[in-house]
């Protein structure tokens, strides 16, 4: 039996070198049900000691979202956790993150490259997975819940530059609102869902350099905001303001 077990183990671990999602103790932290995980930003330069600073700064950046939307978002650093791409976030992993109150996970990699004139540049790829949206995506919803945004910047490893990379033009706030709104819709909290989804739509519209993924997410936010009204009206137990006839399906 031991020989068979050993063989099975060797076969199983043969491909392990490629998987990079490792445990993060914050995932099980019971103090928050609205978590944002900040994974390692993989870089040629050593950024390990900057992860904590980056986490604190992102927390501060999300303060506005917290105060405006009343969501107690908390950013947790996850050292050594390095997803290889959106495909790592399969249904099983996303479900497990969802039940543990993870709203979003951010990871990234920076590499030093040179432009055509030979000037050094930092090529960064920042990956985002918006957990409730990814769950929908895996159940036939076309909006992307996990994607990577490439970015080019002057070479630097200071926290300010990294924050610019991760929270490009404040899109982290838009993603967070969308995540909370989508999750609230799933738990039949119609008022909260409507509020967050409309806020997400507004924040997406304000983005200066909207990506293809952003365009799809605006549509998704609009659709869900309309769904919140429709489903609230159909809910016999609900008696909030969304049942009033004056409330339109669209946010604006």
């Amino acid at each position: 039996m031991r020989t068979a077990a050993a063989l099975l183990f060797m076969l199983g671990t043969a491909a392990s070198a490629f998987a990079q999602i490792t445990p993060c103790s914050a995932v099980n932290d019971p103090s928050s049900r609205a978590k944002i995980l900040l994974d390692d930003i993989v870089s040629e330069a050593s950024l390990q000691n900057l992860l904590q600073s980056l986490t604190s700064r992102l927390e501060a950046n999300l303060e506005q979202v917290r105060t405006e939307l009343g969501v107690q978002l908390k950013v947790f650093p996850c050292a050594n956790r390095r997803p290889t791409g959106p495909s790592d976030f399969n249904r099983t992993t996303v479900t497990e993150l969802n039940v543990r109150g993870v709203l979003m996970e951010v990871w990234g990699a920076t590499t030093a490259v040179k432009d055509q004139q030979g000037r050094p540049l930092n090529e960064a790829s920042i990956g985002y997975v918006i957990i409730p949206v990814r769950l929908d995506e895996l159940q036939q919803q076309p909006a992307p819940g996990a994607f990577v945004i490439p970015h080019r910047a002057q070479p630097s490893t200071v926290v300010d530059d990294l924050i610019k990379l991760v929270d490009q033009a404040g899109r982290l706030g838009a993603y967070a609102s969308l995540a909370v709104g989508s999750k609230s819709l799933r738990s039949s909290q119609w008022d909260e869902a409507r509020k967050q989804l409309c806020a997400a739509e507004a924040q997406f519209t304000r983005l200066k350099a909207a990506t293809e993924a952003d365009a799809a997410l605006i549509k998704y936010a609009k659709k869900l905001a309309g769904d919140a009204v429709t489903r609230a009206r159909a809910d016999a137990q609900y008696s909030g303001f969304l049942k009033q006839e004056g409330v339109a399906l669209s946010c604006s």
Binding site: N28, T93, S187
Partner: protein, 220 residues
């Protein structure tokens, strides 16, 4: 009569042999002889039995020790800080190859399991349960039955999912009772921070309800 009167005639001599026959002894089993004959065989059989029992007990202990030693490395890997999803799956699947002895450590490992380890552990328990449902169902049903602070709602969720997949016999009643507790709002979770039992948030209640409903749909 002629004979009666002839008292003076010479006596006849009768030559005969009288054989005194002794009654034949009853033919039965000669127990002492038998016992004497088979006692070495009996002794050998009894000796063999006891030797075998002792040997089997010794081998069982050796196997348990070998299982424990074999599982130790796998558990260290599964519970390690830097285990990847693939490594966790491989370690848990190999633990499943040990069969029922692996159930206890796998169930214990669920307590601290996260997004990386939970799917791997559930998969291993499922694998053992398909071969030996009793070995897996007993501990998991007991976990649902006895609500203590040691078992979090996440452990309950895993237990419900595996119970449903394995098709544990006798689980239906317990699952129905559990669903009644969910619907009635009486299900509570122990908060280690405040050491108090608190009602589960609606979002978690919905998640558990979905899993219980799915488990009840599984054919038993």
């Amino acid at each position: 009569m002629e004979g009666e009167d002839d008292t003076t005639s010479p006596p006849h001599r009768v030559s005969a042999t009288v054989e005194l026959k002794q009654p034949e002894p009853e033919k039965g089993i000669d127990w002492p002889a038998w016992i004497q004959a088979i006692s070495p065989i009996l002794l050998a059989l009894v000796g063999l039995y006891f030797t075998d029992t002792v040997r089997m007990g010794f081998e069982r202990q050796q196997l348990q020790l070998a299982n424990a030693s074999g599982m130790q490395g796998l558990l260290v890997q599964l519970l390690g800080d830097k285990v990847s999803q693939t490594e966790a799956r491989a370690a848990a699947s190999t633990l499943a190859a040990f069969g029922p002895p692996a159930v206890a450590p796998l169930v214990t490992a669920l307590a601290d399991a996260d997004d990386v380890r939970t799917p791997a552990i559930e998969g291993a328990l499922r694998a053992i349960g398909l071969n030996d449902p009793e070995a897996v169902c007993g501990p998991l049903l007991s976990m649902l039955e006895h609500q203590t602070g040691r078992y979090s709602w996440l452990m309950h969720r895993s237990a419900i999912r595996v119970i449903g997949d394995v098709g544990c016999p006798g689980a239906r009643t317990l699952l129905q009772t559990y669903r009644q507790a969910i619907n009635g709002g009486t299900l509570k979770a122990f908060d280690p921070a405040t050491e108090e039992w608190k009602a589960l948030p609606p979002e978690i209640v919905d998640l558990l309800k979905t899993d219980v409903d799915r488990a009840l749909l599984e054919p038993k």
